[in-house]
């Protein structure tokens, strides 16, 4: 109980004190003028609040009340229709389960390499140890040369009954793989032949005694050469002379100084069927040339159908001045490269323009037998040809 006489004074004012405390308070009040002043102040506050007027109901209050009551009760919650509630409940459970799973189940760390090696060592005490990682690559850990390690790639582990490889029975295979890795090339060829004789894969893959499938060095080399040829072909098709390394800095690329020096190039317009045909060049058929219908070989030139591509290539190919303003809804533009090929003839035909060109190579002498022809269809748009090839 709070013994502050002022707090008791408030209760005394309200007549809420028990008889004994009320008598005690009255005694205090008789002896303390300050306490009496405090009592009067509290009484004044109480009277002020009590003096607030009591108002009747505003006009129309009950009518508005009944109107409000007649309206359906306003709900602050949006309830789903009964049909959707199970779905919502299931979705909620799913979300909760996902969150709980995410918080409780952690993705196991991949087994460290050394643990697998340890298992292999434990079961193959007499055999050399090889490393097998999860990218299916085998390389010798001890007792094998770097050349030996690069000669082998495991393309898969196929057991005799396709049963999954277990740590216990992987060790003999590792030992066999290591044996292969330490073989000289003729020995590996012998092994490869033996594998083929056993009915193993014939596309350069060898199946060993233990069912380990490996790729021979010859097959790997052949595959690499195939890939190299493919890349070179693609580069040639795309007109790429040299592949620039990502971090290689080429100063002045696209600058006028880097561009070949070309004199003014007047466009030759080839219109549609039946249009007037320019005759700057003698028509010449090349029956032996390879014809590429529908597009000009990138060896000789490029066909453009939009201004942006034209503008960038115009500078790159070294054409002088600004690229022409072309209405690409009516025309296409063909740029004949200044150095990649030499145009031998341009022959307007009724439905096409035949361009016969000879690819130029700095290392090799021009070979007339390798001349090629490109057929550029005139439809649906006319061709505006800029020829910067050497004459």
């Amino acid at each position: 109980m709070n013994n502050d006489p002022r707090e008791q004074l408030s209760a005394y004012l309200d007549g809420a004190l028990p008889d004994a405390q009320r008598a005690q308070m009255e005694a205090l009040l008789q002896n303390s003028p300050d306490l009496r002043r405090e009592l009067e102040a509290l009484r004044a506050v109480s009277s002020t609040i009590k003096g607030l007027p009591h108002e009747g109901l505003p006009q129309g209050f009950m009518a508005r009340f009944h109107a409000r009551r007649a309206r359906p009760p306003r709900s602050e919650w949006v309830f789903l229709p009964p049909m959707a509630r199970p779905i919502a409940f299931a979705l909620s459970c799913g979300v909760v389960a996902l969150v709980v799973w995410d918080k409780t189940v952690t993705t196991p760390e991949p087994a460290p390499m050394h643990s697998l090696n340890e298992a292999a060592v434990a079961t193959t005490k007499s055999a050399p140890v090889a490393q097998l990682d999860f990218a299916n690559r085998i390389s010798p850990a001890t007792g094998a040369s770097a050349a030996g390690s690069s000669a082998l790639e495991v393309s898969g582990i196929a057991g005799p009954a396709s049963e999954p490889a277990r740590r216990g029975d992987i060790a003999p295979r590792l030992a066999e793989a290591d044996t292969l890795a330490t073989q000289t090339q003729p020995e590996r060829k012998t092994l490869s032949r033996q594998a083929r004789a056993r009915g193993g894969p014939t596309d350069g893959l060898m199946t060993t005694e233990r069912g380990l499938v490996v790729m021979s060095e010859e097959a790997r080399s052949a595959r690499n050469e195939q890939m190299f040829d493919f890349i070179e072909t693609q580069k040639k098709k795309m007109g790429i002379a040299r592949v620039v390394a990502k971090d290689e800095v080429i100063s002045g690329l696209n600058s006028p100084a880097m561009a070949p020096k070309i004199g003014a190039v007047a466009p030759v317009l080839f219109k549609g069927v039946g249009a007037a045909q320019p005759a700057e060049r003698e028509l010449e058929d090349k029956p032996t040339a390879t014809q590429e219908t529908g597009r000009l070989s990138s060896d000789a030139g490029l066909v453009f159908s939009d201004g942006h591509s034209l503008a960038s290539s115009w500078v790159l190919l070294g054409f002088p001045g600004q690229p022409p303003t072309v209405d690409f809804s009516l025309n296409r533009v063909v740029l004949i490269k200044p150095s990649a090929a030499r145009i031998l003839s341009v022959t307007p035909k009724p439905g096409s323009i035949n361009v016969v060109f000879r690819t130029l190579s700095p290392e090799e002498a021009p070979d007339p037998a390798a001349d090629r022809a490109a057929v550029i269809p005139r439809e649906p748009r006319a061709v505006l040809l800029f020829d910067a090839s050497p004459r």
Partner: protein, 178 residues
């Protein structure tokens, strides 16, 4: 007790309590109608354990407290979204402030006095204001007030004392202001 009897007997009491709690007529009418609606809907379940007036007051006070809480939340988020938290003088930025309605009485002097007293009431804590109104205006006992607000009798007594001291200070300041 029928609905109509209940409304005839308590509608004005509920409205006046709402008026002192909210401090303006518009909010008071809205609060009173909400409280009366709840009371009328719950009337069939009213067992008569307490006086019907006390029951109606309790519903009114609870409805008002819920409104204040939700309004505070709304104002809080509104203030947070505007980045205004802490922009004041350190006092609580979120409080319900009575609208600038015309004063409640026609007599100008009395109007001004009523306005000032209502303004002072509005500056009390919510529970303190309810205690003062229920005690001074509705003349409820400490026990009834405790029942309505869910407070112990001793708490009602001490909070009423603190509220009176604060009101004395506030009204004194107002009287001193020209």
């Amino acid at each position: 007790m029928s609905e109509q009897e209940f409304l005839d007997k308590h509608a004005a009491l509920v409205y006046n309590l709402a008026l002192r709690l909210t401090g303006n007529r518009a909010d008071a009418e809205d609060l009173a109608q909400d409280a009366l609606l709840k009371a009328v809907r719950a009337l069939p379940g009213f067992r008569g354990d307490s006086q019907s007036s006390t029951w109606a007051y309790r519903i009114t006070v609870n409805t008002w407290k819920n409104r204040v809480r939700s309004e505070k939340r709304r104002l809080f988020w509104k203030t947070v979204s505007l980045g205004l938290i802490g922009a004041g003088d350190g006092e609580d930025e979120v409080r319900d402030i009575p609208a600038n309605d015309p004063p409640l009485d026609m007599n100008l002097e009395k109007q001004e006095k009523t306005f000032e007293v209502q303004k002072a009431l509005s500056q009390l804590e919510d529970d303190d204001r309810a205690i003062v109104v229920l005690r001074e205006i509705e003349e409820k006992s400490y026990t009834e007030i405790g029942d309505m607000l869910g407070l112990a009798q001793g708490t009602v007594k001490s909070r009423l004392f603190r509220a009176r001291i604060k009101l004395k200070t506030l009204l004194g300041k107002m009287a001193a202001t020209p």
